[in-house]
Each structure stands twice: as C-alpha cells, then as structure tokens.
Amino acid sequence: MKKKILLMGNPNVGKSIFFTELTGVHAVSSNFAGTTVDFLEGRLKIGGEEYVLIDVPGTYSLNPSSEAEAVASRLMEDGAVAVICVLDATNLERNLHLAMELMQYDVPIIFALNMTDVAERQGITVDTARLSQELNAPVIKTVAVKKEGFDTLLERLAEVLQISDCGGKCEKCHSCKDEEKWLSAKEITGRVTKKNTSSPSFLDRLGLKMIQPFPGLPIAAVVLAALVGVVVFGGRMLRMPLIMLTDGLIIPFLRTLFEGIFAFFATEGGSLSYRYLFYDGGFQTGFRVFYDGAFRSVSYDVYSAVSGGFADILLNVLIGEYGIFVISFQWIIALILPYVFSFYIGITFLEDSGYLPRVSVLFDNLMRKLGVQGGSLIHVFLALGCAVPAILGSRTATTRKEKMMIATVICFAVPCISQIGALVALMGAFSWWMSPLMLLFAIFVFIVTALIAGKIIKGKTDPLILEIPNLLMPNPKTYFRKLWIRMKHFLKDAELPMLGAVFLAALLAGTGVLQMIASNPQVQLVVSGWLGMPGDAVIALILGIVRREMSVAPLLTLYPSLTHLQAFVAGVVSLLYLPCLSVFGILAKEFRIRFALAIFAGTIVSAIFVGGIVNQIGGLFL
C-alpha cells in the first residue's frame, strides 16, 4: 500500500509549484484556475521513508462542481497518511472554508500559507502563530515560486507524519453545517489578518485597468498584436540560425552516420536478401515519381541511384537531398520549431501573469452570443499551442455541453501553432495580406462552428463564473522551466510522427499507391475539379491525418507553381481538416467514440465542402 500525501487547496494557489519543487516531477503551472485537471504522482522521501505525493486538482470545495473538482473529493475519500493544504494568503477566508472541510477527515494536516509576498504587496499580514492555534495544526509561511519556507514545511511534515491520525482534533467541526464553516472561516480570518489600506501597487492597478472595457479593450488589442508580432517576427528571425543548425550540423551528422553504417553492412554483404525483396525497379521508380511530384524537384542522386545498388537507393531515401530524415528535420526544426518557440515565449508569459482570465471577461458578452461563456477563451488560447492539453483542460467546464462545444470549436477552427507556422510560411511566400486574410477566415469559421455546434449539441451551458487572479510578474525560474519543458515535449512529440509521416509519403509513392489514389477519377474530381488544386496535393490530405502541419507542409514544396487562390484554398482546407491523431486519442478518451467519429467525418466533409466553395467563388472573381 502506497503511503499517500495529498497536496490540496483552492485552484491557483500554487500547488503544482510545490509539487515540482518537492518531487522533481514537473507539473505545469499557470496563473489561473484549473491548470491541473487530473492528479499527478511523484515520490517524496521523508525521514528515510518513501511517500507518494499527489498533486490534486484545485478545488473550492469538496462538494464538486466540475469533473476536475470531483477528482479532488474522490482522492480525499480514498484516504491518505497526511494532507498538505496550500492556502492563498491574499484570499484567506475562502481558502479556510476548504480547510474546514478537509479537517473533517481523520487525516493529519499541515498548512502552507502561500503567496505571502503578494499579500504583503497588498498590505495584508497574516499572524501564522495565531492561525496555527486557531486551526490546531502547523502553519508554515511560504513563497513557492521563490522556494521560501520549503525546508520548514518538510521538517514539520515529518513531525506530522509521526501522528497516525489527527488525535481527535479533526472532530472539531465534524457535524457542523456548511454555513457554520463559512462563519468560522470568516471569524478566524478576521482574527489573524491585518489589512493596511496602503495605496495599491502598480501591478494591482494595471490588473484592474486591464479588466475595464476602457482601457482594457485597447490593451487587449495591443497584447494580441504583440503576441502575433512575437510569433511572426520571432519565428522568422529564429528560422535563419535553425536552418544553419539543421543543414550545417544535424543533417551532415546523420549523413555521415548512415554512410558509416551502410559502409559497414556493405562489406558484410548483409543486405543481400533485402536486395532480392525490394530491388525490383518499381520501388525506385515510385520514389522518383514521388520526389518529382510532391517535392517538385528531382534529386540527381535519386536518378543515379536507379542504376546503383539497393544500398545506395536506401541511403538516398533516408538521407539524400530529399530523404526522410532530411525532410522531417527541415520541416520540424527549421520550419515549425521557430514558430512554436516564439509562440510559447509569448503565451507562457500571458499564462503566468494572469492575463488570460481578464481577456476572457472582456469578451464574455460576445462569446455568450455564440453560446459559450467567456471562460472558454482560455481553452482556445491554449489550443493555439496544442489542442490536446486544451481539450483536457476543458474538464473544468461545468456542463457536458460546454466541454463538447469547446472541443468542437478547437477541432474545426483553432489551428495549433505547428499548423500556424506552416500556414504562415505558405501564405507569407505569396503576399503579406494572405495571412491576415486567413486569420479573418478562421474567426469566421470559429463563429459559424460555435453557432452550429450550439444548435446540434444537446444540453445546456452555464454562464460565466470566473475568479480573476492577482496580476503577477511571472517568476523567471518557473517561466523558463515551463518553456523548456514545452519545447522538449514538442520535439519529442513531433519528430517521430513527422518521421513516420514522411516515411509513409515515401512508401505510398514508392509502392505506387499515391499515383493510384491521385489518378482515381473521383479523387481527381474532388482535388482538381472541385478544389482546383494540383493532383499532387492529395498527399497533403493523406499526411494531414497524422499531424496538422502536414496538411500544409507538402504544399510548400509545390509553392512556385501555385496561384494565390490555390494557396488560400489549401489554407482553408487545412484549417478545417482533421485535427491530428493525438487529438483523436483524447477525444475518444474524454468523450464517447461517437463524438470522435462525428468530428472525424465533420472535419473532412466541411474541409472539402468549404474549400471548394472558396475555390469556386474565388474563381469567379479571378
């Protein structure tokens, strides 16, 4: 039986930072309620004994009002050897109400009074000794982001763990009603806190300004423009050094590596049997056609390889000018990564500062008219990074319908940053106004999708109830750690599927399946007739199933031969088209399989349908 220690508290009090610091397991933290929606486990050693520390999703109460909150009360019911309850010093009364609920259980408890720095900034001082007396449990002052108070916390935790139960202390409010708990929380807060009515700090004043329509809306426009600027220009600036990195270092290294391996096997003669299996001509010709078509350029090496042996061909397929490794690294590192990195620089700052809930409140009136509440905008912002955490994050939604609406809108109308990078690269290759036009179109799709989904999906959505956190300057250490983890995840999650997708492309071309699909009269009718795209573009539709940016990236190799309209239609199709395979995994897990299939069919049909409409209408004017 694992000895569990639960890390509990209201949402957004900093539990995940405690967890990361205490266990070394990284938990994502932000400055808004609901960043942790499922529990995380990590090991913690105290006094020679091993415990499991659990980062519990934040909850306002043990009477849950969302899926994420239900996890918290279930974990409490399951039992633990101790609870670390994190309290927000700026918000003591509400935090103490949860503390009272936790104290009903027969589990020893220790309190971490966190955010004491923000409280001081606001002129709030809490008498910890007094609070400890009132609660009959240890209370330790902490500033989690600065790692202050952790040593004392662990020392006192070790003492608390010596007690097997709360020794009757917890009975104090066992039978009392919710109303009495609130009253008692209020009384204790009054006795232990002192509030100086000092003039509010700059950040507190800015935090209030940001949430007023004026100057909040102009500020929102500036912030969003700054985010777009960081992504577009930051991305462009990063591309140069990264192209140098891939073309100058990574690819030559891999080339030498593969050539070395091949030279080794060539002398061994080990690939003889493979030679008989594959060396039948069709495979090579297929590759040639694939390179010729999809990548619009014929590698001299590939031609020469046709006359060479199988090893040469394979070497070319792997690492030649248009080899699987070359293309996948160029796409991931030199094309997509610059945009991903610059986006996360911006969005991580916004997340940790507490800006996102503010902008959500400003736009609640418009979102409400679309059938969702403003709080959903937080999920949309997260989806601009990646749809997977955004859909998981929607567990904080209070109704099923709202969760489904968020997922639907994200799948249809919110491209992830990988896809945005590829889209910006494609559109930017044509004209400066193509990207803004694409953005307007995406907003249009967003509105229409929300309106239609609101009609189709049964149930109701709850109006907005959203706590606005204190505006904070992100802590550099937490900020850079989060940025680093995100980039690591991106490289890990993206390179392998990309390699697989490019390999799949080569295989489809090599076996002639691609040509078969492309020359199918029905496919030609759709791709060339209805969408007005070159036949080779069908590869984008096939690869787009794997990852979102792959529905655009192959077109970049076709770009000199495309018209403005074709590029825009390609963007439209890609925007609406299937989200990636990982998103399906999440949809199937979070919803019923029927919903995942509906999204699957809906995105394909709408992508082809709307893309065609744009092409047909555009054709009339051009």
């Binding site: 306002y60 109460s61 849950p64 009364e93 009136n365 409400r368 709850d462 109006p463 109830i465 606005i468």
Partner: protein, 72 residues
C-alpha cells in the same frame, strides 16, 4: 434588486443566490458583502469584489438571478 441591475462602485449584501455549486463554493452566499467593480455592455458579466478579498466575474444569466440589498 437583481445583481445585474445594481450600480457600479456600490457595496451590497447578497440577499438570495440560485442553487449553483460553484457560486456557493466561491463564497457567494446569503449575507456576503459584494462590491460592483465593473459592468459590461452587450450582455456582459458583472465583476464583483467579494468581501474586499478577490474578484469574480459572474455572467449575466446568473447575475439576474442573484438579488442584493443595501448593506445594513
């Protein structure tokens, strides 16, 4: 009067609240002291400062169902 029609910058006491778990858990109950921090046009929410402690935005459709009165 309903919270939605209450005046900006005034302080009120909550008289009645609809049965919504999240509201209760946030501490918006009968007797809670709320200040109207901000109101928004076009059916936007009401921004409350609760007990001089924290800010909560409450959508129009709930705000109309919460009644408030003058502080005693």
């Amino acid at each position: 009067m309903s919270l939605y029609s209450a005046d900006k910058n005034n302080v009120y006491q909550v008289m009645s609240v609809p049965e919504i778990g999240l509201l209760k858990n946030l501490g918006v109950r009968e007797g809670t002291k709320v200040a109207i921090q901000q109101k928004y046009a076009l059916g936007g929410p009401v921004l409350l400062n609760i007990e001089d402690s924290f800010l909560v935005a409450i959508g129009k459709d709930i705000a109309t169902k919460i009644t408030v009165g003058k502080m005693p």
